[in-house]
Amino acid sequence: MQFTKTPIDARMKASRSRCKATAARFFRRAKASAEPSLRVLVVMVLAALLFPRGMAAQTAPAATNTCVACHATQQDQRIATPAALFSGSDVHRENGFKCADCHGGNPAATDKARAHDPAQQFKGRPAGQAIVGTCARCHSDAAFMRGFAPRQRVDQATEYAASVHGQQLAKGDHNVATCASCHGAHGVRRVSDAKSPVFPTNVANTCATCHADTTRMRGYKRPDGSPLPTQQFADFQKSVHYATLTKGHDLAAPTCNDCHGNHGAAPPGVGSVANVCGTCHAIFAQKFGTSVHKDIFDKGCVECHSNHAVLKPSDDMLAASGRGICATCHNADDKADKGAAAAVAMRGDIERLKTGIERTGALIGQIKKAGIEVSDQQLALREAGTKLTLARTEMHAFAPPQVATVVAEGDTIIAAVDKAGQNGVVELRYRRRGLFISLGAILFVVVTLGLKLRQIEHRA
């Protein structure tokens, strides 16, 4: 059988006719055949009885795909498992591809020698660069892929060659990941399939299979000579990104490939970390780009926020003393340290706005419970909250006057709400005063009535 890339219908038609021809040939040679052929015969007869209409690619095991028929029955799991996997959920099988389409050989042959015939381009188990070549033969062919998944990219192999994995593989290191390491080889699922190892929530686990394995990663070094770390996955699991992805079920959150690349996987160069973070955190990257730290920080965003263990930020980070991150380089006690002064100024502004919002919020809550209409004030408090968030964003330009401007806008809003709140308190006092006056009138009547009673009763 030729190893060919013909459309599915043609192949199916060819399969069916080959099925009949094979069966005919086989019966003629039955007696002279060896043991394996007998096993195959039994399976084939059973298959023919159970699936009389011939082999559609989706039903198991194809009479013309003798590979699966034979491999599935083997004792050795290294041979049986791929066949079983391929017969299950596999995107290639579902599109009509068979073992021979990747491995070569003769899928119609019923004995091992003929099935594994090198003359029929049988490759056996590809290893190293051969894996990439096997996948790339189709997946890098734009015209071919257009027939199956027009939007899918066809440059993965090129990207891979540029990646650390690809470069290592080219040097003969078979320890690194290849296509099959992440996507699987048999039982390959679409990326959008939640059970795929490269579905966004699974990517980190897949990468960690190797990168968190200290034994496997032993001997690998960074460009500067230090050993390649293996705690990235553990760090990532502490991060906000991981929590958003796994608990928040927000697939927009980044995982390994979003920062390191899919196939061209490499750590972003130190100069480009801000760009990488900036693909999503655009405003922060833009503000940071205008700041004094841009040329000073080696690692950009990572200096303060870490690369894998990106935690939820808090205002406590903005301090040049104690647990503040600024304290790493700046010293609040040093009067000449302008950076420390800036940190203190910005933090002071932010804290002032924060406490202002809390205090005014409490006042508004109090008069709301007492029965004053405050929906306008609640709206304004929300705006003040927006200003607070904007101030924290602005802080990334590390320029106190800019933060002060935003905070001042927030302060103006708070002042107005406060005034309305005080008006509310005044209104409550006015109500009380009105009732007091009514009370006076009522008591006046009580006294007068008492006097009147005394009057009529003394007359009697």
Binding site: H281, I283, Q378, R382, T386, S438, L449, Q455
Partner: protein, 158 residues
């Protein structure tokens, strides 16, 4: 009651306490009655805001919104945004960004709703286009009450 019915109380040679007391009593009753009647009368007059704005709110008039423009309005105690598309259709959404509760705004160059805090962007269906927001903006039902440019834009929750 037989004496002093001609002479006004204060002009009498001796002060008539009884009628004075009656007068005081009358004043007392009238003032307390007024103190009750006045608030009740004011209470019965419908207030300016009409009815509690739980399910619906008025978001201004059609004439106030140009094409490809938007305005923030108050829906209960939260902000909403009413948008008039370039084709003249009026839509309303919650203006509370689903990321960190900042108030979104309308960008008329891209005809999208945008949050200045962390660059979240929503399309005119409320769906997230880019940025950190985890969910789209809640869309409200819009009805018009009245005719032409004077029509009131009535926004309701469902």
């Amino acid at each position: 009651m037989a004496d002093n019915f001609n002479i006004p109380p204060f002009a009498a040679s001796h002060f008539d306490r009884r009628t004075f007391l009656d007068a005081l009593l009358a004043v007392g009753f009238v003032s307390t009655a007024a103190a009750i009647a006045y608030p009740v009368a004011r209470y019965l007059v419908p207030p300016a805001s009409g009815e509690p704005a739980t399910q619906t709110a008025v978001a201004g008039r059609v004439g106030a919104l140009g094409l490809n423009a938007a305005a923030i309005f108050k829906f209960g105690s939260k902000p909403g945004i009413v948008v008039r598309t370039a084709e003249g259709e009026i839509r309303a959404f919650s203006a509370v960004c689903t990321h960190l509760d900042c108030t979104v705004q309308f960008k008329n160059d891209t005809s999208q709703l945008w949050c200045a805090c962390h660059n979240g962007t929503y399309d005119l269906g409320g769906a997230v286009v880019s940025g950190p927001p985890p969910r789209g903006l809640e869309q409200f039902v819009v009805n018009l009450r009245g005719e032409g440019n004077d029509a009131e834009i009535v926004v309701s929750r469902s």
